[in-house]
Symmetry: C2
Subunit: 214 residues, 2 copies
């Protein structure tokens, strides 16, 4: 049966979901025939979807042995944070140069529901956080930059819920970034977002070191 728009697309989305919710576990081997049957498709479009996921660092292929759900070790997670510093730093810079009120508004809207609240729902904040960071990239209107920013997928793989640090710490940081963008200060915007990402990175590094020494 042939549908109008390419089967590999929905398969890709479905697989991503399955990886996210743990239906497919870290390090697990993907037995193509099995997954294909489960999804009710053949191996051909499944392969297409898997290759797309491989390029997003979610799946790892070992020639002649199979495809595996990628499991990130600590070094790789830190390395990804370094990449994020570079990419998001540049994004903040670009947005500050644009200095568009519309952009600033969109960014502010992400966190509007959390301002001066007694209680912040972690899940809602985690979503807002993820949304903010990918929005930042998207608003640059730089397609190649968007293309290389596929780490948001991995983001909540690092921690259970998707947050490394509590909202009390990060909410203010987010607004420092937005304010620098609003002020049209590229260097400051870049600096603030790097600080923001770097703090989470350092926290992770410390956690890993503690794990090790135990």
């Amino acid at each position: 049966m042939i549908q109008h728009t390419d089967l590999s697309q929905p398969i890709y989305i479905r697989l991503k979901e399955m990886i996210r919710n743990g239906e497919l576990k870290q390090g697990e081997k993907i037995i193509q025939e099995k997954i294909a049957e489960k999804l009710g498709v053949s191996r051909t479009p499944l392969m297409k979807a898997l290759l797309a996921l491989e390029n997003e660092y979610l799946v790892e292929s070992v020639p002649r042995r199979g495809m595996f759900i990628r499991s990130l070790d600590q070094k790789e997670i830190i390395d990804i944070y370094v990449c994020r510093e570079a990419i998001e730093g540049m994004a903040a810079r670009v947005l500050a140069i644009k200095k568009s009120p519309l952009i600033v508004k969109e960014l502010k809207d992400c966190f509007a529901p959390f301002i001066s609240q007694d209680y912040i729902d972690i899940d809602a904040y985690a979503k807002a956080d993820e949304n903010f960071h990918s929005l930042l990239i998207r608003l640059t209107n730089n397609a190649p930059l968007d293309k290389i920013y596929f780490f948001s997928n991995i983001h909540d793989k690092v921690t259970g819920h998707g947050l490394v640090r509590p909202p009390e710490d990060t909410l203010e940081e987010h607004f420092r970034i937005i304010n620098a963008i609003e002020a049209g200060d590229p260097a400051e915007a870049e600096k603030q977002i790097r600080l923001h990402i770097n703090k989470s990175k350092e926290l992770l590094i410390n956690q890993y070191n503690i794990d090790k020494s135990e």
Copy 2:
């Protein structure tokens, strides 16, 4: 017939070459059957190679209509330079932190043949240049960073030969970058490589503006 290591690998390399040397032209539609026959393989491994190229921005897929050799417009080229500023900037920073004499040596070796020469061979220098920039990334030993740096392919698509500016201008800049890395000055290393990339970018922008007004 089945070979030991996956047919799509050599196909991928071959296609990249064909794009590079113009055997496959910008915007050209890839008729899978034709290319497959030409390369003596079936569509299946060809598709795998094409999907890999799509993820590197070299091929563009339009569902149900086919795959095309991507043609970059001026905005995209500029956007790629912005990405390079971000990625290579971070790479230089990381290397400056590492402060390894071995790394410094490798980087210096790239341009050693060109120091205080009366005549510099453009092709040789272009190769050294490309090598230097990808080496910079590779030496960080940051796999995700490496993964998102696939613009070197596109590099010489921008100009005919792969150089935007003459060696007289860039040789010194390259050594400014290397010296900052050697000195263990991350901020300076990042600044210098950004300047370096930015100058080429600005030149391209000016050229495009001239083209337009003519």
